[in-house]
């Protein structure tokens, strides 16, 4: 039996509460496909905005990195890169390069780190595994450079990769967020805000991160490059999706709690 909101209102006027919230095991939400379909135009709007604003955001990303590199005294040389309809501005930057002694030292430190956090049981396991994974990636890169002489990406290629990744992330992200949003009882403006704010948040994140990566690599060298990209690149972009999702869900949960009629018996 499905309680309706008007019935509930009448009941309240009579001082009677007929809409009893079902036990959690019997609950469903009175969702219909229209809510999910509403996500589609919202997604299209955000996607169009992302497409239109991506060139400006990419330009801001390059400009901020150039600005911060100048502040830090890093020698940079920008160059043009056409990526679809966007004119990107990657750059070559002076990067510290270790000789074989420095690389061997990096390798030894990574091996010791892995050994330490494999045997030292005190820190929580997820933290130990995360540190070990970073050490493995950095150590692997150092070993690769030691044998191959260099990584597949130099500073210019890395800069180009970062900019292209950022643009593709801004364009891909709304698809995932829309899939999340389609499932839940959000209003149209909540959907718009959720999808929009997550993409909007990712732009400054990408800008600051890119400048930080340039600064870090200029001082430490290419052995850190794969670690930064693989563990603090797109992986980091995905976390705000879940964070904003949880915040919007709490709002929806409050609304559901206030309106018992929304709960349907199975």
């Amino acid at each position: 039996m499905e309680a309706t909101v008007p019935n509930q209102r009448v009941s309240r006027q009579r001082g009677v509460r007929t809409a009893i919230a079902p036990h959690r095991s019997y609950r469903t939400i009175s969702l219909d496909a229209s809510g999910a379909f509403l996500t589609l135009p919202v997604f299209v709007i955000v996607e169009v905005i992302a497409v239109v604003l991506a060139p400006s955001a990419a330009r801001a990303m390059a400009q901020f990195a150039l600005f911060s590199a100048h502040l830090e005294g890093i020698v940079v040389r920008p160059f043009g890169d056409r990526f679809g309809w966007i004119e990107l501005q990657p750059m070559t930057f002076a990067m510290h390069h270790d000789d074989w002694v420095g690389l061997s030292l990096t390798l030894v430190i990574c091996v010791l780190t892995v050994a330490l956090f494999s045997f030292w049981q005190q820190p929580p396991m997820p933290l130990r595994y995360f540190i070990n994974l970073n050490a493995l990636v950095v150590g692997g890169a150092a070993l690769y450079i030691l044998f191959a002489g260099h990584l597949g990406y130099d500073s210019a290629a890395f800069s180009q990769l970062m900019l292209r990744t950022a643009v593709l992330t801004w364009l891909t992200m709304p698809v995932f967020i829309a899939l999340f949003a389609a499932l839940f009882p959000f209003s149209w403006w909540e959907r718009l805000l959720f999808i929009g704010i997550t993409v909007a948040y990712d732009v400054p994140l990408s800008i600051v991160r890119y400048a930080a990566f340039v600064g870090i690599l200029a001082r430490t060298g290419p052995a850190l490059m794969p670690d930064l990209y693989l563990l603090f690149g797109p992986l980091l972009d995905a976390i705000p999706i879940i964070t904003f999702f949880s915040v919007f869900l709490v709002r929806a949960a409050h609304r559901l709690d206030r309106n018992v009629g929304v709960w349907a018996w199975m």
Binding site: T28, P126, A141, L230, D237, I239
Partner: protein, 424 residues
Amino acid sequence: MGVDVAIAILRVYVWFLVAVMGVYALRHWGFTWNRLAMRQRPYYQDLLDEDLPGVSVVVPMHNEETVVHAVLDALIACDYPRDRFEIIPIDDHSSDDTTTIVGAYSMAYPFVKPAYVLGGERGKPAALDRILPLAAHDIIIVFDADYRPGKGLIRELVMGFVDPEVGAVMGRVIPRNTNENFLTRMQAMERAGGYQVDQQARYNMNLIPQYGGTVGGFRRNVAMELGGFDPQALAEDTDLTIRLALAGWRVGYANRAECYEEAPAQWAVRFRQLRRWSRGHNRALGTYFFGMFRAPALSWQQKIDGVLLLCVYLVPALLFTGFAANALLFFSGQIPVVPLIVFSFFVVSCSAFGNFGPAFQIAAAELLDGARERLLLLPYLFVLFLFNGWAVTAGLMDALGDGFKGRRTMWDRTQKIGTPRGVA
């Protein structure tokens, strides 16, 4: 030339993994939609005037002196008619006070009929296999020793067997120590996603809900006809679920039949538990993978669901190999950007993937449960990715080692703390 071929293979592999993740993501998206928006399939517990069948409640125990009182007290207090009910605590090679405590209960309550396993192999499957022929009734309900069944739980679970097609039933497991620490909170969320959404949706869609080895039961004669329990199986629940499905039996899921358990509160304990589950589950994958395609009793939807269910403990290992492939591609300057982005989104949003479900599934479960504060913990699920992934991968390695070396497995009991008697 050789390097180019290797790079091409790695790129294809990364795309393949993205496709695998996509299939699982769609599967769980469908489950979540089904649970939130579609008509739900009720369980049988409303058939209250049905003549109740006899039931043997089995509680395997190995050194459970800290928890044995609680589970036996709870079972004794249940409302099932005493003339159709027996409790069989299986004392499986205990070296602590479990034997004495169980003995005292059997003196006080005639329907408590303990069984003592003193020799042979230790472990839940071995104990169950030896006790099955001794049970007085055809319906067997199993509880682990750290569980606290409610008063009406046995009745609710047993009602599923009024359907002659049902070979096993399963209730919902909820950690009772949810607020103990971060780990137990995360497990409560994973559990919620797994039961409130995943199991119920599979039941709704007539797929293959899983019998979970505790807070559930099965028909003894059917289990014995299917060969009983393999003492070497570490996931006897998955094993029985798949054998029942292949033989055309159904598993009923009772979402309302809730039971509280003690979730591991230490990382190392949880790691061992996950590793054991993964080891057993992946052994079942090796045993039943091809049989699933050939099973005449299953519809094509059930076959697909069965295969995905069997492969679920393979996914974290695949994700790790995908990460390694991406690292190698990066070293060689050939990383494919779009699959990496998609891969990263999957890793973060579906970090509980290997076992229980992606973030949106867990969110749906918490929403239905009314646990709105816990929704804010969703982003932290990502913390579990490496931990779950490594534990499950270690279990997969164990299973592969067992297969190649013909190694015998040893049951690893999950350590329980329990609470003193009288403290709820």
